[in-house]
Amino acid sequence: MRKLALSDEILLNVQQPARYIGGEVNSVMKDPEKVDIRFAMCFPDVYEIGMSHLGIQILYDMFNRRDDVYCERVYSPWTDLDQIMRERKIPLFSIETQMPVRNFDFLGITLQYEMCYTNILQILDLSCIPLHSEERTWEDPIVIGGGPCTYNPEPIAPFFDLFYIGEGEVVYDELLDRYKEAKKQGKSRQEFLEAAAEIPGIYVPAFYDVNYKEDGTIASMVPVNSHAPAVIARQLVGDMTGACYPERPVVPFIRATQDRVVLEIMRGCIRGCRFCQAGMVYRPVRERSADELKRLAYAMLKNTGHEEISLSSLSSSDYTHLEEIVNFLIDEFDGKGVNVSLPSLRIDAFSLDVMSKVQDVKKSSLTFAPEAGSQRLRNVVNKGLTEEDILSGSAEAFRGGWNRVKLYFMLGLPTETVQDMEGIAELSEKVAEVYYDTVPKEERHGKVQVTASTSFFVPKPFTPFQWARMCTKEEFLERAAIVNRKMKEMLNKKSLRYNWHEADVTVLEGVLARGDRRVSAVIEEAYRNGALYDAWSEHFDNNIWMNAFETCGVNPDFYTVRERGLNEIFPWDFIDSGISKEFLKREWENAVNEVVTPNCRARCSGCGVRKYGSGVCFEGEDRQ
């Protein structure tokens, strides 16, 4: 039997001890003595969240296919165990072999959202790894970050030895090979970092100097090591079919957030919504073949025993073979003990038909994401959904038996007016009216229920809104109050519900999203004063953060409420995401002028990623 890192005394005194014991179905067991490289793959949040993440499962599978590498998993201990580990000086350990993380060659941390940044410091701290790259020696693992937040890694730059910019599947092999070589030749840690810096997509923050102007904006960012390139090019998978995919994903004992087989049908999005970072940085759209997906569906259900299968992508309705794959899943698995859970699809005859097959319409709800309350503002954000689409889709759904609708919006979008805000209430009202107009009294089962939810808008790097000013907390709450007031004025107000997001945490997210290296001191200070699990509203403490800004002399407003000039150098400008700055500027201008840009399939708008030679940019062309 495996030996556990934690004693029975501890395991019987923490919540969900199963988070820490490993031994799950499909977890990979190797002899650590028989590999050259030990890689600790970390998701800096609690086990149930981290285990649900597809990207980690892909890399875990890919690394472990190599005989010379053993990749194990690491998650943030929950607050109860965190405290015990600190008191008793128990070092953080990996799930599989239960061995200290510090003994590994690499610690890879995936960065999925900004609010996990203090958890990164928790991981390093509990592992007894110095928080700052420059204090580490060969006794410490190489700490490498990857994932969406690396499109602006600067606020956490000092804590990492390396960042990997782009899709993880591509150049890790080369990195691992260079590591082996460096170790074999007895090179120094610095020499290894230099060798790594030469690999496309690898960014070594210590090799760059940032100079600031008097107004606080960046004057220049320059490499200070001859091995470091001035620009880091994002890496991406050219052809999704044949790309690594975990056929035997790990199946947790306890219920994870995603307790199902997930098929990634495509990467990227053709839509070009101007607020959406994923829609930009995962360009171009690359699809997996339907045949490959069918094969994976069989294999993964068999290997996991999951009772549910679902599809994943940014906009599943745009997948070319959607009908084929959905019909396949229903014919093959529905009613045979496997639930087919559909991603949010564009509401039309096809999706309503398949939804009525796999869900109980009386219990499920219909989802639309208009994002903005008026057509004018939807044009600004380039969201191609019209009021007509929503109302006719709702009518059709109501006829099919649904009577619950969810609408998702953002507040605080650039150029937003009171009319746009009130439009959220008005659109919700219209949906309710459609119900009473389409469904005759005798066929209604209860009232219609329309729930509108708003999140607050955070401008993100590599989107056309990267120049935009963000609202203050007061402005956000004021806008939510306007929507709320209007909701109450509606005739059908009893059928309408309105929820809004927290404003404090949004403002902080805004600082971390577009922050520079000076923000790292604030993160460290906040962590030292107890900030942890900031993504969890019950743990988030805004006061700690506000004090940290004060102590470090960093003004959060500089990063949020300031509108940036078109010529300002951004902290993330050293990254070549493939999307050209000219395109983003053009889109920012189009936004302000309320001009809609067609999607990639309707017309290419020359965003710049065609240079990668793959995906939607070449659809219909003979690719040689």
Partner: protein, 239 residues
């Protein structure tokens, strides 16, 4: 067809709670390709029921569940199939066909065997006389505990529900206790009572409690005749 499965739970998986063990076995059935029956409706679930939940931290050599299948291979074949997809620590010990009229395991349970031992790593935290003292304690004719129910507190004497106490090894106290829906006595309750009498703090982690077997009672009103649950099934042989 109704099938009764007996399995063991050993090692680190003792920290997996009952609900998660149930979810775990649903996935095992799919991985192993057991032709299990499903209920009707939008989210069909497997026809599967467990005899008795096991508390987190306990190990067991005698867990039971009943399932219904449409078709099945021989016992030996099915045990192999299932164990091939089981994780370390969970092992199917028997797979037997029940009569269609058989009562389910949960309603049958009347008694359970347990062994209580001190874990090696915590032996310094307790007197070496513990097994003997605990054995003597369990032999008492009056073992009173206070039960808090919705109606308030009341004192219960556990002694009549302890059917057997012995020390098969010098370090082991064996207990046969009333179990199931009528009176369910847990070894932890006896340990709590033991330490409260001695006025010493009870540290549950010091002890490894292991469940050994679950029984039905064929003579509940009279002398008690305990029959292991697996005896109600027949091995399925190749033919």
């Amino acid at each position: 067809m109704k099938i009764r499965i007996k399995f063991s739970k050993q090692g680190p998986v003792r920290f997996i709670g009952h609900l998660d063990v149930m979810r775990y076995f649903q996935k095992v059935m799919r991985r192993a390709g057991v032709d299990i029956r499903y209920s009707e409706g939008f989210s069909p679930h497997q026809i599967m029921s467990f005899a008795s939940p096991l508390s987190v931290g306990l190990t067991s050599n005698g867990e039971y569940m009943d399932i219904e299948v449409n078709s099945t291979g021989s016992s030996a074949e099915m045990i192999k199939k299932i164990n091939d997809t089981n994780v370390e620590g969970i092992k199917v010990l028997s797979y037997r066909l029940l009569l269609d009229t058989a009562k389910n395991a949960m309603s049958q349970v009347a008694a359970a065997d347990y062994c209580v031992r001190v874990k090696d790593e915590y032996s310094s935290e307790i007197s070496p006389d513990f097994p003997q003292n605990f054995f003597n304690f369990c032999k008492n004719e009056k073992i009173e505990i206070i039960k808090t129910t919705k109606k308030g507190e009341r004192t219960v004497n556990l002694s009549p529900f302890i059917y057997e106490v012995k020390m098969p090894e010098p370090d082991t106290v064996f207990l046969k206790l009333s179990s199931g829906s009528t009176v369910n006595v847990k070894p932890e309750q006896l340990l709590t009572a033991f330490f409260s009498e001695k006025q010493i703090e009870y540290r549950p982690y010091v002890f490894q409690v292991e469940r050994e077997e679950l029984y039905a009672d064929e003579d509940p009103e009279g002398q008690h005749r305990f029959v292991p649950l697996k005896e109600y099934g027949q091995d399925i042989t190749d033919n």
